[in-house]
Symmetry: C2
Subunit: 365 residues, 2 copies
DNA sequence: TTTCCGTGCGCAATCGATTGCGCACATTGG
DNA sequence: CCAATGTGCGCAATCGATTGCGCACGGAAA
């Protein structure tokens, strides 16, 4: 309704119009009124005037005095795609709740950028850093939480998916559909999930007594976002002419690319080839056919990351902290996977093994 | 290599160890040495000591004094989807180039949040604000640039698409394919593009002598992101049983939803019904069928927005500024549109009418 | 009447950097 | 020998909020 004042009002001005000292007004605004024996009536007057004038303390000045900025830095590989941005939206949730803001920078897999960002953020006095799918190679004087960054370093807490469970869910699903010749598309070498995931797959395959044929394993190389790389490696896979009945892709975007390549080769999904994705980004459910995929609780991971930095920032006590917080995937069965051969049964349901479990390590005092 | 210093050194400390005043050190660090006649030798001493001790000016203190923060605020509706995030990545490009950082907040169409954000950002002393598909209802003491926010207010520069051209491209395309009964899905009332776009469509239809049948016009209502709303209104459209041969959707996500609904009704796209999207988000090209759509140069729009705030921040002179910067759409023909009836010709090409034109209004001095 | 105490609030320093103004000394011209 | 000019740098205020310490006043107790 009311037009915003052109210039934010300062504490001094507010104090002047109330004929009070800045100290008094400041204390009231910050809820330390009773501790300083300020008359109830005065409190009301001040609070009212503050609201009326839309007083908001200048963050710079406050930060300078308190040596706090209520700001954290977020480092992601890309801003435009679904993975990081979903995590970011989870981060935002938690942060804003506590009055924190955040800077975002993306490095697009350029090492020079990645290396420079932590210092830049520190020069901005961030109180903590969250790295999404990116690994930080320095020791920093602020708390660092990493989402899917599997370089285990001292002082860096990881938010990570239970890749073993993910692999088991995926392979058990494909096995139950009768697939024995499964092709795998591994992630790019620079993606921090790649290794861990692959190890988990190898392990799960062993447990389930599924053989992994090296000829059917390809790896994404191109750093390009989008479906191109997935398409390329799938073509490559088809040209090798080793028969397979299913593809387990590194992520949904890749799975979508794979489907395009299959279609191009006149192969039907899932009738001829089943395709299993990973992540469960929005496009997964709207794609045609809708993607069967391993759901990652990306938003929760962002929330957990933010919650963790916040608690690290609050705690001074170095009581033993977990090195990692684990979140759990779900198998989401849609239409891109089906029985091998000519049987077709449609089964669309979410089989969740465990619900997401996040321990917030708040101070218990 | 070197571990980050645990505690940053201050100007005062640096000055003390150099036995110089803070003023002098500050001036040298900020490159104002010659303007203040500081001896060359002193400069070297200072610069060397600064580097050695890893001195970095405290951003808070500097910001407080100079009333500069090299930070701008970005307000978007949602962080997780493709429209805003593509714009953001364009914004980031331009901003980082000039050493600016940015805060992001999303309002999720909640008016209370939207109203509060500008103040919060001002309390953080941002030097400018970019609002993406969101309208700012206050006069702010900093430059505001709006991307697709069509509330024309004084002092707010809009980055906007040429909707007239977009409408003409779209309708001319559909008309050339023989469509006469075209259904329209209008945007949500809160989306700032909705009105302008609709007016442009009405105008273009008139020019092309295409009749708009009110019975074939529906509007998105739900604020939910994703394809749900598009699916819903399309079902509604089908139930009304007014025949149509094409749908022009408000955006790609809606178009994808529409296709799902059509499929559900056993209608083939584009054989039975053509669907035309808008925006050209990443999913548009990877969808099956790939979407024919009106491409918006979202990234460029972000860059233009950032470039514009930066130039507004630099200029003090209030020389006449454009109220808007226009960018131009392209028609991207893929596979979701086709000839009406039983003809099928595949035409896949980008017909661009004009290339993107952006006037950067740099100071000319 | 003096001392005490509780109530209610203000003074002034501080955080770290920037900046308008001005001072001290050396050199040079007259 | 004195003034003028140039060279090199420092003083102190300032940005806006926070905070340790302390002051003034009125009433009660001694």
């Amino acid at each position: 309704m009311a037009k915003a004042p052109i210039k934010p009002i300062t504490l001094k001005e507010l104090a002047a119009m109330l004929e009070l000292s800045q100290s008094t007004v400041s204390r009231i605004i910050n809820g330390e009124a009773t501790a300083h024996r300020i008359a109830e009536e005065t409190q009301q007057r001040v609070l009212h005037a503050a609201a009326l004038n839309g007083y908001v303390a200048n963050t710079m000045a406050r930060g300078l005095r308190q040596k706090r900025t209520y700001t954290i830095g977020v480092i992601v590989p890309e801003i435009s795609e679904g993975y990081s941005t979903t995590v970011i939206s989870g981060i935002e949730d938690e942060l804003l709740k506590d009055g924190f803001f955040y800077f975002v920078v993306s490095h697009r897999h350029r090492a020079d950028l990645l290396d420079g960002y932590p210092r830049m953020m520190l020069a901005r006095s961030v109180e903590g850093i969250i790295a999404v799918d990116s690994s930080i190679n320095e020791d920093l004087p602020v708390p660092v939480v990493s989402v899917s960054g599997h370089t285990h370093r001292d002082g860096v807490i990881n938010i990570e998916l239970d890749h073993d469970l993910a692999a088991r869910l995926a392979l058990a699903h494909l096995k139950s559909l009768g697939h024995r010749q499964i092709a795998f598309i591994k992630g790019q070498p620079f993606s921090s999930d790649t290794d861990l995931r692959w190890k988990a797959i190898v392990q799960a395959a062993r447990e389930l007594q599924l053989a992994i044929d090296d000829q059917l394993v390809v790896q994404l190389r191109s750093p390009d976002p989008g479906t191109g790389p997935g398409e390329d490696v799938t073509r490559q896979l088809l040209q090798a002419k080793h028969p397979f009945t299913a593809i387990f892709a590194f992520n949904d975007v890749t799975a979508i690319g794979a489907i395009s390549a299959l279609r191009e080769a006149s192969l039907r999904v899932p009738k001829d080839i089943s395709v299993l994705g990973f992540d469960d980004i929005m496009a997964a459910s709207t794609h045609h056919p809708p993607l069967t995929t391993i759901h990652q609780p990306l938003r929760s991971m962002g929330q957990a990351a933010a919650g963790t930095v916040l608690s690290l920032i609050r705690d001074d006590a170095p009581h033993p902290r977990p090195a990692a917080i684990t979140v759990y995937p779900k198998l989401v069965v849609r239409k891109s996977t089906g029985h091998v051969a000519h049987h077709t049964e449609s089964s669309a349901q979410v089989s969740d093994m465990r619900s997401i479990t996040i321990q917030s390590n708040e101070a218990t005092s």
